[in-house]
């Protein structure tokens, strides 16, 4: 049973508004509904077109203020597909079940591809450029351009296929080459991590080429690999110890 939806599908103006609003989908992230308010904000232009009756529009927006989560770059997939269902007059219960089914997969797809693969690989590209002696604008620009090429494509593609495929979006997501892209980014990232580690070591060790400096550097690299995400805390401890020791017993 529909709830007054089934009006016009989003036109170019609404699509543009949804795309731009998508950049703020996490703006009101909270521990109760996660990005629920953000999703409703993104959907509002499409819902205004799908629901001509103000009371039905309020009920529709209220439904979409409920809990939702997704990777932010793939939230457009959900927003596009939901906008399509609302324009088609699909029953609210079906839309709710669809959202529940979609949110887990959009979160894990985006986390695996973007946060675990693409971002660290492109960050390491920037680090490698900086450590290889590139000017500041090339290191930062190289990172931002490489990173955002995929980022912006994902946002535009996601909204487009969501609006096009509606309930059938699952098949499109399964066919998307996210796994291959992630694998390639991981290989490139591992290569760049090796490059950056040795380039960092060569910054000083290379000048004197002292065996102790190289041995310490190799030990630090091994410790970094062993520590993984804990390397940050270990580094804080080491840097603090060196600073305090220098202030207390050092004499320049």
């Amino acid at each position: 049973v529909t709830d007054g939806g089934g009006g016009a599908a989003p036109g170019p103006r609404e699509r543009r508004a949804m795309f731009l609003r998508g950049f703020t989908v996490q703006g009101s992230w909270n521990y109760q509904t996660l990005i629920g308010t953000g999703l409703a904000f993104v959907l509002a232009p499409a819902l205004k077109r799908a629901y001509r009756d103000p009371a039905a529009l309020e009920r529709a927006l209220a439904r979409h203020l409920e809990l939702f989560n997704s990777h932010p770059y793939l939230a457009g997939v959900a927003a596009g597909a939901i906008a399509r269902l609302e324009a088609d007059g699909v029953a609210p219960e079906t839309v709710a079940r669809f959202k529940t089914a979609l949110r887990g997969s959009l979160g894990s797809l985006g986390d695996r591809l973007v946060w675990l693969r693409w971002r660290p690989a492109t960050v390491l590209l920037g680090l490698a450029l900086a450590l290889a002696g590139a000017p500041w604008w090339a290191a930062v620009g190289g990172f931002l351009l490489a990173y955002n090429a995929l980022h912006l494509w994902l946002r535009a593609w996601g909204l487009k296929v969501g609006l096009r495929d509606g309930l059938n979006i699952g098949a499109t997501l399964r066919k998307a080459p996210f796994e291959t892209l992630g694998e390639r980014a991981a290989a490139a990232g591992a290569f760049l991590a090796g490059f950056a580690s040795l380039a960092a070591l060569g910054g000083t060790a290379g000048e004197s080429a002292g065996p102790l400096a190289w041995a310490l550097g190799v030990a630090a690299a091994a410790a970094g690999v062993a520590l993984g995400r804990n390397v940050r805390l270990a580094a804080i401890a080491v840097l603090a110890a060196v600073l305090v020791a220098g202030l207390v017993v050092g004499n320049g």
């Binding site: 703020t24 509002a44 927006l61 960050v123 980022h151 090796g194 520590l227």
Partner: protein, 224 residues
């Protein structure tokens, strides 16, 4: 410390990068590499900002904003660190203090993100005045404005505190060799920790990258 006239601009940039981290854009201007360079650029020396950005970025590699995870926030601290580096024309001991301060401030900053997300619950659910498009937009953008204010305040506080610390600490006592060694070994360890993100099984790629860097260093040495 950067000139007083630059403080409002630095705070503004800090607000923008705080938004970029989660709320608006996520273009990665908030990554330490970019944010520290931006801070340095505001203070007139982007290359000095990049120097501290590289150290901070290497140690921020494994920070993952997955789901509702709690994590340190890099942007505001990096803006302050980049500006301090640009303003102080620092030696190794100054960079050590700047990097260490920024790493600690990232944790403080992350705690404020968590607190804000609890407070944002007030913007969740149906607005009392009804779920009209305007009411939803007001709530959503209200939360964005709070995040921006949080970022500006954190950045301003960091710039002032760091400026005071750089003036107050007797950094001339810290042997430059110690500071340089600690920083660079941390940088090596941080960059190498990246392998864990991609899986230890990819070590052949890691070793190939290291070999290429070795070749570049060798050729550079030959050229010098």
């Amino acid at each position: 410390m950067p000139e007083a006239a630059l403080l409002p601009l630095l705070a503004l940039v800090g607000g923008v990068v705080a938004l970029d981290a989660t709320a608006v854009g996520q273009l990665m201007l908030s990554r330490p590499l970019a944010a520290a360079t931006l801070g340095g650029a505001v203070a007139g020396a982007p290359a000095e900002g990049l120097v501290v950005g590289v150290f901070l970025e290497a140690l921020h590699l494994a920070v993952l904003p997955v789901g509702a995870a709690k994590y340190p926030e890099g942007g505001p601290a990096a803006v302050a660190a980049g500006a301090a580096a640009a303003g102080a024309l620092p030696g190794d001991a100054e960079i050590l203090l700047i990097v260490l301060f920024a790493l600690v401030w990232e944790t403080v900053s992350g705690l404020t993100v968590e607190r804000m997300r609890h407070l944002n619950v007030r913007f969740a659910g149906i607005p009392p005045e009804g779920a009209t498009p305007a009411a939803v937009a007001r709530r959503h953008l209200g939360a964005v404005a709070i995040d921006f204010a949080r970022g500006t305040a954190l950045t301003l506080a960091a710039v002032l505190l760091l400026g005071w610390l750089l003036d107050a600490a007797a950094l001339e006592r810290v042997p430059a060799g110690w500071a340089r060694a600690a920083l660079e070994l941390s940088l090596v360890a941080g960059a190498a920790s990246g392998l864990r993100l991609f899986g230890r099984g990819r070590w052949p790629f890691f070793v190939s990258g290291a070999a290429l860097a070795l070749l570049v260093l060798f050729l550079r040495g030959e050229g010098a």
